[in-house]
Symmetry: C2
Subunit: 202 residues, 2 copies
DNA sequence: AGATCATGCTACCCGGCAGTAGTCTTTCAA
DNA sequence: TTGAAAGACTACTGCCGGGTAGCATGATCT
């Protein structure tokens, strides 16, 4: 109970910090701004986070973890490489778009993280890249994908999806789920796979 | 002569600013740092730029202009849509990679620009997107490209290439020209075109 | 009721840095 | 050789904002 309340306060601070860092940038936001938005004062924040940069790390890392978890569960799951890639990209895109602000903040503000926090997160990103490359390799081995350069393609896919944080507008032309689906279709086309809908109609 | 020297000094300042902003971030770099790197003092910089953010704008805008010019000249040039897209992506990728630091700075630090400067640059980006979409549309009309969603694909391509600023390491596995070529090939595969090398061998 | 503890606030410090005022030096013209 | 103008430097100012010390308030326990 005591713990839950503490965790809730922490979440509220993070929520508001994400909103303001996203709108005004990390350096354009003061702790007083965040506190004011929450209807509290600056020292209150310091009872939950040791510093402003710790706050930044706390709102970046879990989001990168989610991205990694999305591709991991798809890559290590069942199905053909095509099916797994499709699933992985849908889930990954979903993370990027539903955590759009966190992702944007991470990419923009990584220079503000401590070296330790950044190394830590970059280790996760490295795992992400390895998993994706490995999945592409399996697809090529299975004759499902047709690629000239696996590692480059992996980076290209990662970039194409990550970049969605920059242009996505919630409430735009496409619903979130549709958008994820289309990004996955584009990805399959890019790796030279037949569309999954041709293989296993849903 | 007088003018040329002035322009040269301006360029040197920008050069050093790009280097430091790229390494340490805009807010992590002081004007004293830049001045020290140049072997001059802070007021010297103020004889060439009115403020720190003007310096930032001065190093972002021309790079975005180059990107736009790259796709424009390819899109409005001669050749089939496939050839033009291929050329455009090669040139665009080349801009992104040869101006990697400037691009990185722009995407990371745009929140630090004045509203006017940002609107100005975003107008260029809008033109970029329109040109790319238009080129894709022509390719579809000509039966060369096979796309479910032209606008989305245009964003995806733009993102995939732009993102290269985040992973490219000069002196890496591939030479710059090869990298550009492969990104263009990936793009063609993504839009469902036959590789240009199948069409017009070089 | 009084003691204790948790919780959040008021009020402050202080360092860093963008931007400036005014001086010195160098150059060049007459 | 002197005067003026340009160009760059020294030496400041002022403020913003991260971080903290210590106080007030109110709940809980005895």
């Amino acid at each position: 109970m005591r713990e839950e309340i503490l965790a809730y306060k922490r979440e509220r601070i993070l929520e508001e910090a994400v909103k303001l860092f996203y709108e005004r940038g990390f350096n354009g936001t003061t702790l007083d701004d965040i506190a004011a938005e929450l209807g509290v004062t600056k020292p209150f924040i310091y009872t939950h986070f040791r510093s402003k940069v710790e706050l930044l790390a706390a709102l970046c890392r879990p989001t990168i973890e989610l991205s990694l978890a999305a591709v991991r569960s798809a890559a290590e799951g069942a199905g053909t490489p095509t099916e797994r890639l499709h699933r992985g990209i849908i889930d990954f895109t979903h993370v990027i778009l539903s955590k759009q602000a966190n992702i944007a903040i991470f990419f923009r503000e990584e220079k503000n993280l401590t070296k330790e926090a950044l190394d830590d997160i970059n280790a996760l990103r490295k795992q992400f890249d390895r998993l994706l490359s490995q999945l592409l390799r399996e697809g090529v081995a299975a004759g499902e994908f047709h690629l000239a350069d696996i590692d480059l393609t992996s980076l290209a896919i990662g970039g194409m999806i990550s970049w969605a944080y920059a242009w996505h507008r919630p409430g735009g032309r496409l619903a979130l789920a549709d958008l994820c689906e289309r990004m996955a279709d584009l990805t399959l086309q890019m790796v030279g796979a037949r569309k999954i809908t041709d293989v296993t109609p849903v």
